[in-house]
Symmetry: C2
Subunit: 401 residues, 2 copies
Amino acid sequence: MTRVLKFGGTSMGGADNIKNVANIIKNYKQNGDNVVAVVSAMGGETNKLISLANSISKDPIALEMDTLLSSGERVSSSLLSICLNDMGIKAISLSGRQAGITTDDNHNKAKIDKINSSNLQQYIKDGYTAIVAGFQGFANNRVTTLGRGGSDLTAVAIAGSIQADVCEIYTDVQGIYTADPRVVPNAKKLEQISYDEMLELSSLGAKVLQSRSVELAKKLDVKLISRSSFEPNTTGTTITKEENIVEQPIVSGIATDDDQVRVGIYKVIDRPGIAGQIFSKLAFAGINVDMIVQTVGTDGTTDLDFTVPTVSINETKKCMKKFEHECKYIDYNEKISKVSVVGLGMKSHTGVAADAFMALANNNINIRIISTSEIKISMIIDKDKSKRAVQALHDIYKLDQ
Amino acid sequence: MTRVLKFGGTSMGGADNIKNVANIIKNYKQNGDNVVAVVSAMGGETNKLISLANSISKDPIALEMDTLLSSGERVSSSLLSICLNDMGIKAISLSGRQAGITTDDNHNKAKIDKINSSNLQQYIKDGYTAIVAGFQGFANNRVTTLGRGGSDLTAVAIAGSIQADVCEIYTDVQGIYTADPRVVPNAKKLEQISYDEMLELSSLGAKVLQSRSVELAKKLDVKLISRSSFEPNTTGTTITKEENIVEQPIVSGIATDDDQVRVGIYKVIDRPGIAGQIFSKLAFAGINVDMIVQTVGTDGTTDLDFTVPTVSINETKKCMKKFEHECKYIDYNEKISKVSVVGLGMKSHTGVAADAFMALANNNINIRIISTSEIKISMIIDKDKSKRAVQALHDIYKLDQ
């Protein structure tokens, strides 16, 4: 069987950790598996290079930042190859270019155009473990980088291109949990979860897997496993198609997102198209508007509530300037959290939302905004009640069992 | 005029030093010069990578060491380009491959095969300052490195390939001195020196320029300037063809080499070819034998003295095992120094050697071995008298004037 294994910065941090990773690969090779490893830069290295560049220029040129930052992954790929060769396992490091990864020329946040995996396939055929430097590609004879979570993307794209049986994403946590174990001590590790549930969980704050790589895995039909390089004997969490999940739980997990701001626009004069104007202006500025609630009053005015990411708050305020005279006032509340209940089984079960509202009411937690999709219920509540809310929801759905 | 500027690890060490280097380039650009810069890894980085690799493997595979080590020069080239772009000077970093440098596939000590400088020439034509990562090339789709002093070699080879007017080698010293200023306080900086004198000086211990790059500069007729990036207003030392040096001094400088061992083989049975056998065995083992003296005794036996580099001592002892029964005894003396007097004018002046012997005799320094060439006299003396010998020689030839 052919496996793509991706090792993050913590897994590659230092000689001992690299040896540990080499042993994981060795075990698979001894089973007769083909292995391609994709590696991140050693923990902390990328930030070191960024701060070096920032000490030289306040706005370092993007094209050169890519050459600079790509070096971290090249270093860790050659170190892992040195380690494997030392253990008697044939291995070869490959840069993004050598692995055939071409991208668009959008430096610092390039998109993979295509992968020519012939070089990689030949190495696999010749019995090599190929170690691909993650996070990077090539365009117009220059190195490009893929932005945040780029190494996960590299791994998934390669797994799709060589039709690997599985893509294992190694980090320092054992997999995906029913809730953040730091908040809910009796949170349970999930054995499996669907791409769509994972997308809801990762975009909502479960930081183990980036949304972009889960989306790509879904598109390319790549089976993902999230697991820990420090406890390689635990099974991790499999992320796969809905059809492959035999027993679909009603609720799989509870996620929180503390990095949202609620924007309230009160007593908007309710002329046609005003909401459309507001949201197209925000969209044009690249602001990711999430939950929206509109309340039409009896006096012919409307209240509008929505959330935006905390990082976009200044940009949002700029956009809203234009609409200040069309309403009574606008306020911005950063002291909120978004708590979400995610589960495939919601599609076929009723009463899931009612249980959630009841659980929060029983804990004296007010819900400010509610939004729902086929497989999730999201609620905006006061930030200082977020932990209590997650625990209450975890309990009501008996996720520890 | 077109200049190739090479900046060593100390010149590139840290943000402030990189800004300093960028200012040197800026001054030339403002004069209307074309500039290609060749850079080493930031001071200490290469050693850090080597010790990381050694903590993973006692004998790291050469092919991967090249990928690993080449990253240091890529980092410094992109940082310098970031700095120049920030100052409004168009610049682009180029890896060895991007600069068109192909080598043989002798990893860790590759030789430059050829340079396809079309890419580089186009950037120069378009007004860019190209920043080439030194020390590296490309062979069979893999990175290669050129070994010690590799960045100097890159600079000289590029200067030859684009027919630059000059190749300036920047370090933390102001140029080539008549003797090591730490030993001889009144040593003087030389304004100019011939390739051949420089070769004698550099192979004898003046560590500013590596022999390989001086040899290549001589072959490609590249004018070298050795100068300091920390005092860019001082003129440095020009290394050029003998014909360009108008006033040829009798003695240019005094060099010492403390890393030699004298091997003495006493009372060898003087059968034909024994010396030839010894030296061909040493040559076959890759040991660089330097000075040789043979003394034939009246009893039909011979004494043989020669020097080898201290790093080759164990290998030499292995080779000599075979000859132990053919002589009375063999001894190895590490407490020696080689002191050399170098100067073009020796070709046409007599009495230079006599002055040297007299100077040492007046200081009670015994000479164990002497060897001479057209432009140099080398003498083996006791190591603890080396400093006194250099000062005495410096004085007798009035090199401070």
